[in-house]
Amino acid sequence: MFKILEREEMAQGTVIKNVIEAPKVAARAKPGQFVIIKANETGERIPLTMADTDPKKGTITIIYQVVGKSTALFKSLQVGEGYQDLLGPLGQPTHIEKHDGLVICVGGGTGTAVVHPITKGFKEEGNEVVAIIGSRNKDLLILEDEMTAASTEIKVCTDDGSYGHHGFVTDVLKTYLEGDRKVSLVVAAGPVPMMKFVSKMTEEFGVKTLVSLNSIMIDGTGMCGGCRVSVGGKTRFTCVEGPEFDGHQVDFDELTQRLSAYQQMEKEAMEKFDHDCKIGLNK
């Protein structure tokens, strides 16, 4: 079992943070990599980015949004309990190097957890890193302090204007793209529409952009092809060749469609889970 050492509810309980004991994974994880975890015998294999790692303590941190049955089940796990299976680190690490211009890391919603280690990585490499993070409203914002520490400059936005800049992350991004300082690289993670708009915008400005894709996965080792995405007209496997790809090449519409493959069944699973919880089958 992979034990949960710390647990925190964020964004009004819609986002959960777990610090998990996994020394082997923590020892080799690099920014941009993810793990696949499974809660119990009947559970699903769910990919989650490592939002942080502590090789000394032998721990990894995951931050996930509760969206369906599996993440709801994860949420029910308390400190001292744990996940039956955890494997990683999976995927290609972010290529971190020193750029002469700005590196802008854009995180939307839980995507902020995904860009956190990447932001940190670029800063440690000596880059000037701008973090732009956003959420629907103030209460849903996560990791503001962590992102402030991980970057050299931070901008916060909320869709409803309840905190920071009133508007989308793309609005703020635009001010940088139009500004005087050179922008060398943009890294974006978040909802697919957000990544799509970020990529569209940076393409106009000719700024290289990496997006971290969240395709549906099973094995995470390149064995099943379930995580395939079209990048530049070629089929690529997100789990082994990604999760980051050139945002200007990704077919986001196809990704959106593929993510809806199990919508009906996901609903059914969630309803059953809620029902079982109410009658006390699950704790």
Binding site: K24, V25, R28, K38, T42, G43, E44, R45, K69, S70, L73, Q84, D85, L86, L87, G88, P89, L90, I218, D219, G220, T221, G222, M223, C224, G225, G226, R228, V229, S230, T235, V240, E254, Q257, R258, S260, A261, Y262, M265, E266, E268, A269, K272
Partner: protein, 466 residues
């Protein structure tokens, strides 16, 4: 003609009725009763120089274990089997006996060979039902340590052999369950997963350590394993799905056989929502390809509630590579064959779900390199075939994850690891390899044979240093 009177015929094995079994995931053949098994065992001539044994890649003492069944000594029989194989219950079920041991049985020259596979299955099942824990005796500990990468048939054979020779063995497996294709590929109705687990438990009892959820090349590298272990055996299988590379292939409802079968078998999606992993349940299913993997996919689709399942294949019936028995089973259950047909485009609906495929009719031309007649498209024969679920089962390739992260490991032009046939040695010192990652997708017993060869070579190295 004036031969002896009619002898005992080869004993049939009862099966679930096709109309019943196409709706459940229970095993299809039901196994021999003790009486039938003894009757079948009595057919074996107990040859002094048994030709059957040379047809078995792991050289099971066939007359030996069969003779013990005949005497009713089932416990002795399983002990005899376990001397040579770590997976008797598996091989008895999925070995292509008709091209292995049974094809060389002397009885087969004039009549029907002894049902070696069925008897092997019987002995293993009896032992399991009775909770017979007979373990082969292990040699004293040598203090040497071996790492095995991948827990399929090749890997577990090496593990079983070397632990019995006194070495410490640890298996590193990427998945959360051990068994390789036996757990994620071959369906429950052909090979119940409880049986595979039982054989894995047997290895654990012998002292083999299973390290699950370890992706070698990611969690740990082969070079790091070499620091801690005296020798490494690589048996990661042929785990790369093949796609057709035609338009529309990423539509929803188009799976690689690997994904389809892994969802159903390993993740138990057929038990959704008791199990959390979902699977697209098609009503009108097309399976592309005509090998064993295609048959398994087609039969799985039936059990997942399809009204109609078609095997779509670009050659004719004669060229279908699946075992005759599998084709027969599928046909009995209602799988249809749609031959000399090749898809060129997948067509989706407004939600990105597959709704049909545009296909071309084919005709057969001259034989190609494989000796089979080459399929040639008939121009202008395009037509549309409706479908709501497509499973692509046109072969597998070498997964580059481990080979690309292991310097010094040489591969051929298709990415398979180069290993000496007589020893399993790779070009990298202290590293052996075998099974599908060397040969390309083959069979359980060939992978086990490769494991046996490598285990012998590794034992020599561990004992003498060469």
């Amino acid at each position: 003609m004036a031969e002896k009177k009619e002898k005992t015929p080869r004993q049939a094995m009862p099966e679930q009725d096709p109309q019943v079994r196409r709706n459940n995931f229970d095993e299809v053949p039901l196994g021999y009763s003790p009486e039938t098994a003894q009757l079948e065992a009595s057919r074996c001539l107990q040859c002094k120089k048994p030709s059957c044994v040379s047809g078995c890649p792991v050289e099971i003492d066939i007359p030996g274990f069969i003779g013990l069944i005949k005497e009713g000594d089932y416990s002795g029989s399983i002990a005899k089997l376990k001397e040579m194989t770590a997976l008797p219950a598996v091989c008895g079920r999925v070995c292509p006996q008709e091209v292995q041991c049974e094809t060389l049985c002397v009885l087969g020259k004039k009549g029907e060979p002894v049902a070696i596979g069925r008897l092997e299955r019987f002995a293993a099942d009896m032992a399991r039902e009775k909770g017979d824990q007979t373990l082969p005796a292990a040699a004293p500990k040598t203090g040497k340590k071996v790492a095995v990468v991948g827990s399929g048939p090749a890997g577990v054979t090496v593990a079983g052999d070397l632990i019995l020779k006194g070495h410490d063995v640890t298996i590193f497996e990427a998945f959360h369950k051990a068994g390789g294709v036996l757990v994620y590929g071959i369906p429950e109705f052909r090979l119940p997963k409880a049986i595979v687990q039982d054989e894995m438990d047997g290895l654990a009892k012998l002292g083999v350590v299973f390290e699950l959820n370890q992706v070698v090349g990611r969690t740990v590298s082969v070079d790091e394993l070499l620091e801690e272990y005296d020798a490494v055996f690589i048996s990661v299988g042929a785990g790369l799905p093949s796609f057709l590379g035609i338009p529309g292939e990423n539509l929803i409802g188009i799976y690689s056989a690997n994904e389809y079968l892994t969802r159903s078998n390993l993740m138990k999606a057929y038990l959704f929502p008791e199990y959390d992993t979902p699977i697209v349940r098609g009503k009108n299913v097309c399976v592309l390809g005509a090998g064993n993997v295609a048959m398994d996919s087609a039969r799985t689709a039936l059990r997942l509630g399809a009204d109609r399942v078609r095997i779509v294949y670009r050659r004719s019936r004669e060229e279908m590579p699946a075992r005759a028995e599998e084709i027969h089973h599928g046909e009995e259950e209602g799988v249809e064959f749609y031959l000399l047909t090749n898809p060129v485009t997948f067509i989706g609906d407004e939600n990105g779900r597959v709704k049909s495929m545009e296909c071309l009719k084919m005709e057969l031309g001259e034989p190609d390199d494989s000796g089979r007649r080459r399929p040639i498209p008939i121009e202008g024969s395009n037509f549309e075939l409706e479908t709501d679920l497509v499973v692509i089962a046109v072969g597998a390739g070498a997964n580059p994850l481990i080979t690309s992260t292991t310097p010094g490991l040489e591969v051929n032009k298709w990415g398979y690891i180069l290993a000496e046939e007589e020893t399993g040695k790779t070009r990298k010192p202290r590293v052996w390899a075998g099974g599908d990652i060397v040969t390309g997708q083959a069979t359980v017993i060939l992978a086990m044979g490769a494991g046996r060869i490598a285990a012998n070579s590794m034992h020599q190295y561990l004992t003498w240093g060469w």
